[in-house]
Amino acid sequence: MGTPVATASTEGRGIPAAPTRPSRWRRLIQGQELVVTLVGIALIIFFSVATSAFATGSNLSTVSGYIAPILILAVAEVPVLTLGEIDLSVGGVYVLSPFLVVYLNNAGIPPLLGIIITLVIGIVIGIINGLITVYLRVPSFITTLGTVFALEGIVLLSSNGIQVNPVGGDTLAQVLGAWQFSSILWALGIAVALHIVFRHTSFGLHITATGGNVTASAESGVKVGWVRVACFAICSLLGAFLGILDGYRIGSLNPGTDGLTLMFYGVAAAVVGGTALTGGKGTIIGAAIGAIVLGVLEDGFNIMGINAFAYQLVLGLAILGAMILNIQMDSLRAGRRGGGRARKKSARGADPGAGQSLPSVEDDSSPESASTH
């Protein structure tokens, strides 16, 4: 393609040359991500100097354990948040999934197969959330609030509130969370993979487009219904996977686990890292850095013996600060069109044309990443 179909009579007026390109590194981390990175580095330096226990090998595994769950939930929420939606139910999926593996095992299904089935169930829960949100036009906050309570209820009912141990051989357990660095490696791997999908594929572009302006995207032919359902499915899948990882990492399954709070830590990390709750703007790298900052903060406070409630206070202030920073940077960038983002952002309640049929899932990844810069 590309040969223009038509040209108006030329009089030789080209467009001005593009401004000089920022360096690759600058483009990877910019704006709020940069601010949060600096905050993170400052925290690490502070805790290393202020305590003797922070910069130690054994603490590296402890802090990894804090960071990994927040990181996975943060990057899982980024696509959904970019759509202007939220998935609260992922906290419930997180609690439910390791129990499902145990129940399936009790029914005679081997652990590995049980894990795969559980992940599929995670996807199905996400699809249900997505379908209710997109086609029945229930705001996702409400849809997933319903699912999260339902799922936590299922866990409590089915377990009679009794703790159980995860099932599976030692190798399986070590790979899926029991080894001290396995969760953090999974988390980083997931973040990298999601970043590539989000930034370098047409699916990722369609997420940002749909979140920015659902009507315009639908008019451009983007399958906005499918895109939204797929993001809920991805989020829920990652929640199910994290539940399994954490089951093996912790070594026992508590039906009373507060998945909802953990989910909010993930959302907080995403927001701190520069993802806007209003949609149209998300960054996986920012969310990952935000999760690292929150994990370091929690760990450092623990080591210093600061009251756990203080962590909550700091977390709250950090979210507020990040939101303000986010919005201020936006209006700085938008300059004189600063009010431009005030228009309707909701990805819901679009006109009938926005509803699209669901084509086949495109998820068989192609290895040759010919991403361009």
């Binding site: 179909v5 040209t7 594929t201 049929s357």
Partner: protein
């Protein structure tokens, strides 16, 4: 009503008795019109007459409640915008269909990105940027850079990007323009008019142009249809009518609507 197998007289687009309601609001009540190869048809009518609804039906964004559509004499039923595009129908929507947060070049290529790989399709951003830059300079649209998010462009520049996105498509047969010049300055408007005329004259693209500015309509079009309250009420070639007559017709029917409507 016409029989589907009947020869449709070579029209590139023919629509018959198209109707569409939104709940209690009846937007179209049996619109019939045709478009000949290389012809530019002007569609005028007061606010809320149903022009944009008609455009969105032809482009597959809305599905009609009733009526039939033929493209090149072949009956079609578009389920999506992509369906219509596969038949060579391109559209500039009244709302421009631009995503503010995305760069100019991503908007130009939205849903038709240049990619490599199947399944997960990886963006070829460099190629898209180059092609966007080249095409925009070919049609003399000046913007600061193709990397600029469209939220930073002026209203007229945004409109130019929306027009460029539609006209860039090589396989295009029919171009639907819903108020493409509304926010443009005189120079930009004349550039776009030249571009659009060239598409029709040199490349045989058929067009449907919605515009409230009758001067533009007379400058661009071969034929004019007036649409009122969901129906076509006037169909004349430009040489059979005049600016005065059209204005008179619109005013008269507007007064009648006030009296009887």
């Amino acid at each position: 009503m016409a029989d589907q197998t009947k020869n449709q007289g070579g029209s590139v687009l023919r629509i018959e008795e198209i109707s569409k309601s939104f709940g209690p609001v009846s937007a179209l009540e049996g619109v019939t019109l045709h478009l000949e190869p290389g012809e530019v048809l002007g569609l005028v009518g007061s606010n809320g007459a149903g022009k944009s609804t008609l455009v969105k039906i032809i482009t597959g964004y809305y599905q009609p409640d009733g009526g039939r559509i033929w493209v090149d004499g072949e009956p079609v039923e578009f389920k999506s915008v992509d369906d219509a595009r596969a038949h060579g129908i391109e559209t500039v929507f009244q709302d421009l269909a631009l995503v503010d947060e995305l760069s100019v070049y991503h908007n130009l290529f939205l849903n038709r990105e240049l990619t490599v790989g199947r399944g997960l399709r990886f963006l070829r951003n460099k190629r898209m940027k180059e092609e966007a830059r080249r095409y925009l300079s070919d049609i003399q649209v000046s913007i600061p850079s193709v990397d600029t998010p469209v939220e930073k462009l002026s209203g007229g520049q945004r409109q130019a990007i929306a027009v460029a996105r539609a006209t860039r498509q090589p396989g295009m047969k029919i171009l639907l323009l819903d108020e493409p010049l509304a926010a443009m300055g005189a120079r930009e408007a004349s550039l776009i008019i030249a571009l659009v005329k060239n598409l029709a004259r040199e490349h045989g693209v058929s067009m449907l142009v919605v515009d409230h500015n009758y001067t533009h309509i007379f400058e661009l079009c071969d034929r004019i249809n007036v649409i009122e309250q969901g129906r076509v009420t006037l169909d004349k070639r430009v040489e059979e009518t005049s600016l005065g007559e059209l204005t008179e017709f619109m005013l008269t029917s507007y007064k009648q609507q006030l009296q009887y409507g």
